[in-house]
């Protein structure tokens, strides 16, 4: 019996596919998420929209909150550590969370290095804006990838940009002849072995979810049609006027993403979506996606 293998780390992400992972800040929200059909929850002190509004330094959540949520639900519980903050990651592993999100939503602890994720038994998910960034994180040991989008904005435009960039990167790579792979690896700033493997298999070696701006059932289905394996919803559920109804609707739209009639049906009478932000109005220094590299 061997625990913490690559197969079980990447395998848990495979079990989450086709599902919705929701940000929650307390037991009550975690139960609403589970009841709505979420395949996992992300335990936080504040959702990204509030982190953005508060400014200052955002850190790992208080373990008390994470443990309370772990006790309250039977679905997997994820939690965030700061980029490069390997001690926060060690703490999350010690608590026993099921997945660690090394996240740009929190204030980075290291501007040069991400956590070396291979040395952990608990799997990591990391954000990316394009294929090169995805492969750098996988090279460090991320067993799951998500687009960064722009968290806490309720605006899907950045998530779309990042998902298209990843998918476009894959399409180009598949048609690249072998002798050009080294130059492609250089251009992507990605590990050559992963680049060569992807050229052969035609797909990312790990599961890829969409994140950062999903606010409606149609947003979730849009990301699925663009090629996401599943969806993270951060502020979109619990910053809306009717979280339980919206959560269930987003789950259904994610399952039936190819069926516009069902998406239409579940989109009815959900009340107000979370307030949205125009990315162009956000000062460059306050954007979250450029954090990490």
């Amino acid at each position: 019996m061997e625990t913490g293998t690559w197969k079980v780390k990447a395998g848990l992400a495979q079990m989450l596919k086709g599902g919705v992972i929701m940000d929650v800040i307390n037991v009550e929200q975690a139960k609403i998420a589970q009841e709505a059909g979420a395949c996992a929850v992300m335990a936080l002190e504040r959702v990204p929209a509030d982190i953005r509004a508060a400014g200052g330094v955002a850190r790992m959540a208080d373990p008390t909150i994470i443990e309370a949520i772990m006790k309250a639900v039977s679905i997997p519980v994820m939690a965030k550590c700061r980029i490069g903050h390997f001690v926060e990651a060690q703490v999350l592993q010690a608590i026993g969370v099921d997945y660690i999100d090394e996240s740009e939503v929190l204030t980075p602890a290291d501007e040069s290095h991400h956590v070396w994720k291979h040395s952990f038994k608990v799997p990591f998910v990391c954000g990316c804006r394009d294929l090169g960034e995805a492969l750098r994180r996988i090279g460090e040991g991320a067993a799951m990838i998500r687009t960064k989008g722009e968290a806490g904005t309720g605006n899907i435009v950045e998530a779309v940009r990042h998902m298209r960039a990843v998918m476009d990167g894959i399409r180009k790579l598949v048609s690249t002849p072998e002798e050009e792979l080294m130059a492609v690896a250089k251009e992507l700033a990605a590990p050559f072995e992963l680049v060569a493997e992807m050229q052969r298999t035609g797909k990312l070696p790990v599961v890829n979810f969409a994140a950062g701006g999903v606010a409606t059932p149609a947003d979730a289905a849009l990301m699925m049609q663009l090629g996401a394996d599943g969806v993270f919803v951060g502020s979109g559920i619990f910053k809306s006027s009717d979280p339980a109804a919206r959560a269930a609707a987003v789950v259904r739209a994610t399952t039936h993403y190819q069926d516009p009639a069902i998406i239409a049906e579940v989109s009815k009478n959900l009340g107000q979506a979370m307030p949205g932000l125009d990315i162009k109005q956000i000062p460059t220094a306050e954007l979250l996606a450029p954090r990490g590299w």
Binding site: M1, V8, Q14, M15, K17, G18, G96, V122, T255
Partner: protein, 192 residues
Amino acid sequence: MKIGVLAVQGAFAEHIAALRQLGAAAVPVRLPGDLTGLDGLVIPGGESTSISRLMATYNLARPVKDLAGNGFPVFGTCAGMILLAKKSSDSDVTPLGVMDIAVRRNAFGRQKDSFETELTIPVLGEKPFPAVFIRAPVIGQVYNGVEVLARLDDGTSVAVRQGRLLASAFHPELTADLRFHKYFLDLVAESR
């Protein structure tokens, strides 16, 4: 041979790929209409609470329960096994209740306790089978002639068969070894 794979959430694409490699026509099942014309059904690994709720929401639970209760071949892996069981330790999931087994959900603990091992499964031949257990359930008890196909070293039951119903606590869909899927397809072929 046409096999449906329940595709409301979880590792359904992996099952579809494995079945297609073995020459079966594998199709996703998301709505009751998708069950028409199938010779067998796979319920994949995933989150059993999500799958259970989505099956109820889209009126899949009743027809799948009726099929499985009437000799239709069904193969459940991990979450799929929980859904087939008569009893589950966890009130968050409403199992279909078609297989005479009692299961314990997340029996090994959380993700840090997920593991890989090799199992001896006599019906699949002598070569050990690579088994991936992810937040896996176990079979606590079996009744009414349920056949145990595989056990861990400590005797815990992790794969069972009852008539044309097949269930494993681990994920054959995550490995390249197709013998478990082949075993299911043989069972489907016998029932036609």
